[in-house]
Each structure stands twice: as C-alpha cells, then as structure tokens.
C-alpha cells in the first residue's frame, strides 16, 4: 500500500529532456520507478533515456497509461505545465521546480478546484515509497521500507530525519514533501488523512517550520478527528531572529501566529508528541512506537 505512489505508479516526466529532468529521471529509473513517458514540446517522437517523448501531456497519457507526473519545467513556464496536467486529469502531479511566481500558483490552484488531480509541491523534494517508487530529487540511500509516514516542508531536514528513523530501526511507508512555497498543493492535513487510512502506516512524523499555517491546520484537524495513529512533530526555527524571512518563501516570521512556540503548543494540545530537538526525532519515534506496542 503506502500513500500516493506504489508498484502501480506509471510515471511521466514533464521537462524530462532538460539537464535537471535528464539527471533526475535517470536517478528515478535506477531506483526502480516505472518511467513510461517524457513530455517536452517540440521533441515529440524521439526517445530519451529509452523512454518515448511526446509533445503534449494528454497524448503521452493516452499512449502510455501514465498515472503520475513529475514536473521539472523551469519556473517561468512551470505554471502552464502544471495546468496542462490538471486539464488532462493526471491523478498525481509532483512539482520539484522552485521559485515559481506566486500568482502562477494562484492560477494553478484555480485550475485545481474541482479537478481530479492531486498536486504535491511546488518546491518539493517529491514523494518516496522506499524500495518501491521514487518521484523527485530526494536522497534515497538511507530510506528503508517500513511503517512510518513522513511529511515535511523541507528537503534536507527530511533526509536527516529519514536517516534517524532508519538508524532507530524504523523504516518508512512513504515520505512526502509538501513543498516550501506559500501557495502549494496538498498540505499536512491531506497527508495525515491518507496516512491514517493507509494500513501500512503505523505512525507519522510531521516536520514543520516557522511561517505559514500548515502546522496550525494539522493541529486543528487532529483535534477534530483525533490522533488515530501516533504523530511525532518537529518544528524548526524556534531561535530564528524575528521579523526576518528565512529560507522558504512561506517562512515569514512576521506573519501573525506563525512562530514556532505557538505551533508547538497547538500541536501538543492536539495530542502530538513533540521531539525535543532536531537530532532526537528518530529516538522519540522509537519510544512512541515501543510504548504503543507494550
């Protein structure tokens, strides 16, 4: 099982023939992901990395039965590429591209309303079901199959936490990067919903940070439905200087109610176990899982 991606995923890459597209598509194929098509306007009819290339996404879907798309299109054209996928009713679209203009993402969200597409990202490291399917650019060598769901806003911190989980003897069902941008596709709430419904997932790690409302929304959701499975959270940025933008576009500490302590308090009240430090997420989860088994 796992969430979002599994053995049945047939991946198509938008912008596959570019430098980044080529490099990462190759990595995904090496990992075992079933890459069935590439889309680059003007390059249809060719083959790249032994994968057929199409001009239009709808054409590629019809010809290959692709059911997920990875988007590596540069920021100035990325919004249009995502909308092309939404209009073709691509079930899953994962966007790695960073620095997309925010109003382009507003346009994407308007196209997404009422559609059949589930969007992950942009500015996401992707989705990984260890040992089965990789869509994205994350480090994969420390990830192991298992039963911990991981969701985050930040790529390198996710790699670190995945590495800690594996070291603690805990594999991962699926890791999802919801992306670092303010306006994005699925959030922590949708991920929690899917992890709670997934029989392969026993517990969930939430890796949050200052800025935005994702953690507050997750807390509200958990209060409403209850922590159906244990959730461990880390919020980075407690000691970031106030009033400064740090890193991610969504990370504006001047935004009201978006500071680390406020987020932690709301999550704690919703029944989430808070990891005391970034280096202790793996051991915190091990304790939580052990307590539950006892």
């Amino acid at each position: 099982m796992a969430i979002l991606v599994d053995q049945t995923t047939r991946l198509l890459c938008q912008g596959m023939t570019g430098w980044a597209g080529t490099y990462h598509t190759n990595r995904m194929i090496q990992y075992g992901t079933n890459v069935v098509a590439g889309v680059t306007p003007g390059k249809g009819g060719r083959s790249h990395l032994d994968v057929p290339v199409f001009d239009r996404l709808a054409e590629a879907m019809a010809a290959t039965g692709a059911n997920a798309s990875a988007v590596f299109v540069p920021p100035d054209r990325c919004g249009s590429a995502i909308i092309e996928a939404i209009e073709a009713e691509m079930p899953l679209v994962v966007v790695v591209t960073e620095r997309i203009p925010v109003l382009d993402m507003v346009r994407v969200r308007e196209a997404l309303a009422g559609s059949r597409t589930r969007l992950v990202g942009p500015n996401s490291q992707g989705v990984l079901t260890p040992g089965v399917c990789q869509i994205g650019v994350m480090a994969t060598d420390r990830a192991r199959p298992g039963s911990i769901g991981v969701m985050s806003r930040s790529a390198s911190l996710t790699s670190e936490i995945v590495s800690q989980l594996t070291a603690a003897g805990l594999g991962q069902s699926t890791t999802v990067g919801i992306g670092g941008d303010a306006v994005h596709g699925i959030g922590f709430v949708e991920c929690l919903d899917m992890f709670f419904a997934d029989p392969r997932t026993d517990a969930v790690v939430l890796i949050g940070e200052i800025g935005g409302n994702e953690e507050e929304e997750a807390a509200r959701y958990l209060k409403a439905v209850g922590t159906k499975k244990p959730v461990v959270a880390l919020i980075a940025g407690r000691h970031a200087p106030p009033q400064r933008r740090m890193g991610h576009a969504g990370t504006l500490t001047a935004q009201a109610g978006a500071d680390a302590d406020g987020k932690l308090e709301q999550l704690r009240r919703a029944g989430v176990v808070i990891a005391p430090s970034a280096h202790l997420v793996g051991v915190t989860m091990r304790e939580v899982v052990a307590k539950r088994a006892a």
Binding site: A20, Y23, H24, R27, P75, D76, E98, R99, I100, P101, V102, L103, D104, M105, V106, R109, E110, L112, Q125, V137, M138, A139, T140, D141, S152, R153, S154, A155, S156, L157, S159, E160, S163, G180, A182, V183, G187, I207, E209, I210, G212, N213, E217, L234, A236, G237, R238, H239, A240, P241, Q243, R244, M246, G247, H248, T251, A256, S277, A278, H279
Partner: protein
C-alpha cells in the same frame, strides 16, 4: 522586493488611486522647491525608508512653509532612522517625500495580500488608519477579510457588503469599490505580494486619497517586470545578504561567533535551534539553495569567513539529489583557498556522494573535525567557540 512610498504611490496613480500632491527630494534645496510647487501651508516631509512606524520614530515632520520644509529635510537627510521594524541598525534616509497635507474626514485601512491556505488573494479592510497593527492584534475583527481570485471577488457582492459594515454608502461606497478594484488590478498586473494603503483618507469632498502606501513585489516574478526590477534600492538590503542572494544562497546576518554553513532552509533553521540549545551563538543563518554551484557556494562561505569575530565554522550538510555533498565540499575548499584564513571547521557531511566529499576533504589543509551526527558537531563547535577544545 519592496518599493519606496513614492514609488508605490506613483505605480498606484497609474490605476487612478490618488495621493497628495508632492515630490521626492534628495537635498534640502530640492525639498524647498518641492514645497513651493505644492503651494500649501500644510506640508509633510517624510523619510523614504522601507519600514513602518516612521512617524513614531520621528521620520515624518510637519512644515508650514518652504523654509521650514528645507529645515526638516536637512534634519532628516543622511540620518539613520531606527523604527520598530528596521532592527537596531536602522536605515539611512537618502530621500524625503514632500507632500501637501490632506484633511481626512475619515481614515481607512485597505490592503491586498496572498492568502496562502486558500491559494488566492485576500482583501483586508477596516476603519481607522494609523496604529491598525496594534488594534488588529487586540481585536482581530477590527480588520475584515474578503477572498479574491485573479479575476476579482470570489463571491460577487462581498465588497459591497463590506462597505455597509464599515459605514460607507451610495457614491462613497462606489468610490471605495473603485479603489479596491484598482488595488486588485495593480496587484495582478505587477505580480505584487502585498499592497497596503494605510491610511486611506476620505476627504470632505468625498474623495479617497492614499496618504501612505506600501507595495511588495514577488521576487520570483521580477523576470516579467524588468522596469520594476530596476527600481530596487540596494541600499536598503544588507550588502552581504544581497551578495549571497546573487549566488543562490539565503543568508541572514546574526551577531554570534559560530559561522554556519548548511544546505536547505529547514536544516538551516534546525541547526540554529541546536546551536542555541547547546549554548552557542550563531554568526549567520545560511541556506544553500539546490541551484547553487560550487563557485556560488565558495562565494557564500567566503562571506562567512570574512567575519573577523568568528571562532569556528560549523558545516552541517545532508546531500540530496540536486546537490550532492561533494559540490558543497568543493565550494568549501575554494573559499578557504581564496580567503587564506585558518579557522577550525567542524563538519557533519552525509547523504549523496558523501564518500566523494570525504576524498575531496582530505586534500584541504584547514583544521578539520569530522563528526558523524549533527548534535555531536554542534556541541564540538560550541566547545571550540568557548575556548574549550
């Protein structure tokens, strides 16, 4: 990227949003001439710095004549203005805006911004003007919110209802809605991420005038607006932070003695948290973007090495697919070679291509302390900074 008040008002005037008659001045002479042009006995001389709370900090001076305007300008120009929003270093006043005073019958707060969660735009409006931040903090309902999309209101009629709630009717309500419509068009046309008019004055003649305006543009969309990109005032941004930006590195200056090199925003924030928890004091925040090449990284690390008071460099890297470890270590080596500085370096380098990175590292002759986990690295760096090696 934020515009100065005079630039924001000029841009908004293209959308038929009125502001008081005025002119920007770089010298007291120019300010005096501007005052004569205004032809009024009620004048305001306003420091053009990109920070709120200017008036409270003494950045706005009233003048009753051209001569007084000249004095006020002389008093402001070249001075450092420190407001609640500038930080301790403050901003140097390089320009003043000389404006005719406008008598307001009522004042309003109007703004448009991105609503990240809804994935759209949001109109914010309320009565009153100056001091809205404090009032809204005390009473969130002081500011009303109306959802907007790219084409306009999400629910037609919302702005009209908002007008009723804030006590506007008839012709005045129509004019208010015209201002809102202009703000929305200016927002979408120019890829803004915030437009704020505070206060928006309603005059005795029943006209709306923007007494102050703030406009923030989306940096990621500036490629579509070269004319606006050219307005960037590099003086208002920290020189070193700007230099880092040019090399694909997010950098924030701090005042500690531990230089920090990290890839990724989340890991960067987590590293600061751990340093503080271990009793250390970081000299900077660093997030090497995945698009940075080794020469960019060398440049960014060079900026840290330029800080004379740092005692140790902490490198916390988790290499991913976009940016393997060896790229960052290569940048580190180049930076040390260029700067010729001798400084202990505590490294935690793991992830993609970590073996290759370790091979590279063996060629560098700066003092290295390698750690296998990040907490150990943080503790070592703090110990070195405190002279406990």
């Amino acid at each position: 990227m934020e515009l100065h008040e005079f630039q924001a008002k000029s841009l908004l005037s293209r959308y038929a949003i009125a502001s008081p008659k005025g002119q920007v001045a770089l010298t007291p002479d120019e300010a005096e001439l501007a005052a004569r042009d205004c032809g009024s006995r009620a004048l305001f001389v306003k420091a053009q710095v990109q920070a709120g709370d200017r008036a409270q900090a003494g950045g706005v001076i009233r003048a009753a004549s051209a001569a007084e305007t000249r004095l006020a300008a002389a008093q402001l120009l070249g001075r450092k203005l420190v407001t609640a929003q500038t930080g301790r270093r403050g901003h140097t006043i390089k320009r003043v805006l000389v404006e005719t005073g406008v008598a307001a019958v009522r004042e309003f707060y109007v703004a448009m911004r991105i609503d990240a969660l809804a994935g759209g735009l949001e109109l914010l409006a309320g009565t009153g003007g100056t001091g809205i931040e404090a009032r809204a903090a005390a009473l969130p309902s002081a500011i009303e919110s109306v959802p907007f999309g790219l084409a306009g209101e999400r629910h037609p009629g919302d702005t009209m209802k908002l007008c009723e709630r804030i006590g506007l009717a008839g012709d005045t309500a129509d004019k208010f809605r015209a201002v809102v419509d202009s703000i929305h068009r200016a927002f979408v046309d120019n890829d803004a991420s915030l437009i704020e008019i505070n206060p928006l004055a309603l005059t005795g003649d029943g006209e709306f005038v923007a007494l102050d305006a703030k406009l923030v543009l989306d940096d990621n969309a500036l490629f579509r607006h070269p004319d606006l990109a050219a307005l960037r005032d590099d003086d208002v941004v920290d020189e070193i932070e700007l230099e880092a930006q040019r090399h694909q590195i997010n950098f924030v200056q701090m005042d500690g003695d531990i230089g920090v090199v990290v890839n990724g925003a989340g890991l960067g924030l987590a590293t600061l948290d751990m340093l503080r928890a271990a009793g250390g004091s970081p000299a900077n925040f660093m997030d090497i973007r995945t698009t940075a090449k080794s020469l960019d990284i060398a440049h960014g690390i060079g900026l840290v090495l330029d800080k004379p008071h740092i005692k140790v460099l902490l490198v916390n890297v988790f290499g991913g697919g976009m940016q393997p470890c060896d790229t960052i270590i290569e940048g580190l080596g180049i930076a040390f070679r260029r700067k010729g500085r001798v400084l202990p370096v505590v490294l935690r380098v793991t992830g993609n291509n970590e073996q290759l990175a370790r091979l590279r590292l063996a060629n560098f002759n700066f003092p290295k302390i390698e750690c296998s986990d990040m907490w150990q690295a943080v503790e070592r760096a703090v110990a070195i900074a405190r002279g406990r090696t």
